[in-house]
Amino acid sequence: MDLSFSTEDNEFRDEVRTWLKANAPTGRRPKESHAMREFDLAWQRTMHAAGWGGVAWPVDYGGRDLPLTQQLIWYEEYARTGLAPIDSRFVGLAHAGPTLMLRSSEEQKQFHLPKILGGEVIWCQGFSEPEAGSDLASLRTRAVVDGDELVVTGQKIWTSFAAVSDWQELLVRTDPDAPKHKGITWVICDMRSPGIDIRPIRTIEGGADFNEVFYDEVRIPLANVVGDLNDGWSVAMSTLSFERGTAFTVSQVQLASSIEALIDMARSRTSINGRAVIADGAVAERLAKARADCAALRALTYLGISKNAHSTQPGPEGSMLKLQYADLAKRVYLLGLDVIDTNALAFALDEDDSDWVDRHLMAFSTSIGGGTSEIQRNIIGERVLGLPR
């Protein structure tokens, strides 16, 4: 049992830090989605050229297949660049790509994987539907086999980057009569297909990264099905353990940076009563508690990685980390507003303060997206403690 990293690991960290410092993009990431796509892809190409395109990807597919400890180091250092933890490359690199590796045909792999890693394409996800949120398996988007094609009609929602994506991992119902988990198919959808209509959804902080996607008799070759027809649920579930908790490190490290930034601000700013913000004992306690809680979140990340390094089945730390991260992020970013105080009224009073308002609003999504906190608590209660369903 130790905290320290091996000499080899420390050398690796130096190498990563040096490389990122020299190569990470320093300009502001564009807000317009096509420019954002080009920014993200260019960065992926830069990383890929230097061998950093897929730190968790198998060597066979052009990745580095780093041990978990080095993945952790990579993500810790990546977090320091301040780049977004999740950008438009995410679905391709961390979900669709790994799914293809595990479940697709050799031909599908040969075609898609190099393009993902090489920064040529963006993927998006087509899982959720308006009536199928937490209950994903109740999805209704219908696909009928017609010759050597699937004909898809229906609607997806919460698809990030839909308008700038090349491909989509799409779940459709191919057998409406089967039990709900049994009639679903996982298929690769070309986002330029006729019959696809994309409508952006404006979110609370004013962004439009999410979309509704409508399918009106969209024709997809049967050759694009991954796994078997009607076996899509198992395909979708097969990738859950990819990276085994390491990628989450970026969010955790950046939250820690936010806390330290807030402490600095609370020390240097004057509150409405004329004293330093940090002289408010209640704010001070919340800041100190956030520090302690974030330290524990990091320790839990390390514990999870230590366990996962010895087991292919990821432990329950994943749900625990997600749940606790959401709770802490919401607390920290609300605290951020209390630190900037009446500047919290303005959305762009000055760039820095505006950013805290933005983060506060964005934090509402942490306990909803990717499995709500309520669902995480069910999972922990049932799988960790063995409570009845």
Partner: protein
């Protein structure tokens, strides 16, 4: 002792709700703010509210007012909060009072007739003199008609915002609010009222508490409606205690905020010794209810609550703005602890 509304009061409430629904619905304000117009209230709607006597409801009759109490104003403002109606209601109503009670009857008449008065929000580099003069950096909410109300524990005043320096418009968290930033190099007010004559700030606490109560009630009802309608895993999601219990907590908090706001309004109307204590308690209770309920409602609504498709985001932002406008919870809680306890 009776905290039930009278038939007269019920009529005020029903008329207000109906007017707000017709003229100041969130559909309308959304159209306005999405087109970039702030404050997102039309001049016609504002004038109609003036015509209904909203800005003179609690003003004594000798000043041309309707002569109701703060309790009736509180009931009106609860509806304004529930509707998320845009516009500087609190500061306009209180400015009419400052003008009238300080002898500036012409100004009072002008305000009552529909000249909106914005609100000056205190900042850390900001000082208010005993005569209601103001110096330093300020933010102005909805001061588009050229006037703004200034509030401090010892005085309330009205300033001419045209005389402020460096005015610039900045986007507000709440997209229905016109927010400006400015600096004052010691600006004297055009009217002022010492707290020894009337503590206008206490009334502000109650009116803001009323709006926050309305916001909390809207959020409670939006969450409950969704919990009944939305089906997942074959059942309405409201069967789950993870949904049902937060909804119940919202119901409790909204009812506490409502009861305490009425209590505080009556405490001021009846000039009880603990009026300030009760007013601050109302502000604290209602701000807590509004913050808890709007954010919990987003969680209950799931993804949709996080978007502009649903009004929840508007209410989150309104609650955020209104609970900060009088100086924020730490200030109110510190004052609450200094005071003598309840009578």
């Amino acid at each position: 002792m009776d905290l039930l509304t009278s038939p007269d009061q019920d009529e005020i409430i029903a008329a207000a709700a109906s007017f707000l629904n017709d003229k100041m619905s969130t559909d309308q304000s959304r159209l306005q703010f999405e087109s970039g117009t702030t404050p997102a209230v039309s001049n016609a709607a504002w004038a109609a509210a003036a015509e209904l006597g909203w800005f003179a409801l609690g003003l004594p009759e000798q000043f041309g007012g309707v002569g109701f109490g703060l309790a009736e104003e509180a009931l009106l403002f609860r509806e304004i909060g529930r509707a998320a109606a845009p516009g500087p209601f609190v500061s306009t109503v209180l400015a009419a009072r400052v003008a009238a009670l300080s002898g500036a009857q012409d100004l009072a008449d002008e305000i009552v007739a529909g000249r909106g008065v914005g609100l000056t929000v205190p900042g850390s580099l900001h000082a208010i003199g005993e005569d209601g003069s103001i110096a330093g950096e300020v933010q102005l909410l909805d001061a588009t008609s050229g006037l703004a109300l200034v509030l401090s524990p010892s005085v309330a005043s009205i300033i001419d915002v045209e005389s402020l320096g460096d005015r610039s418009r900045v986007p507000c968290v709440d997209p229905t609010v016109d927010l400006q930033r400015a600096t004052a190099n010691t600006l004297s007010p055009i009217a002022h009222l010492p707290a020894s004559t009337e503590a206008v700030e206490h009334r502000a606490h109650v009116l803001i508490a009323s709006m926050l109560t309305g916001i909390a009630e809207w959020a409670r009802d939006a969450a409950a409606t969704h919990a009944i309608d939305r089906v997942q895993f074959g059942k309405p999601i409201g069967v789950n205690q993870a949904i049902k219990h937060p909804c119940a907590d919202m119901a409790v908090q909204a009812q506490l905020a409502y009861a305490q706001t009425l209590f505080a309004a009556l405490a001021i109307d009846e000039a009880r010794e603990d009026a300030e204590f009760q007013a601050l308690s109302a502000h604290v209770a209602a701000a807590g209810a509004a913050e808890f309920s709007t954010s919990t409602t987003i969680q209950v609504l799931g993804g949709m609550g996080f978007t502009h498709e649903h009004d929840a985001h508007l209410y989150v932002k309104r609650a955020e703005v209104w609970r900060r406008t009088l100086g924020g919870m730490p200030t109110h809680l510190a004052r609450l602890l200094e005071l003598s306890g309840p009578v």
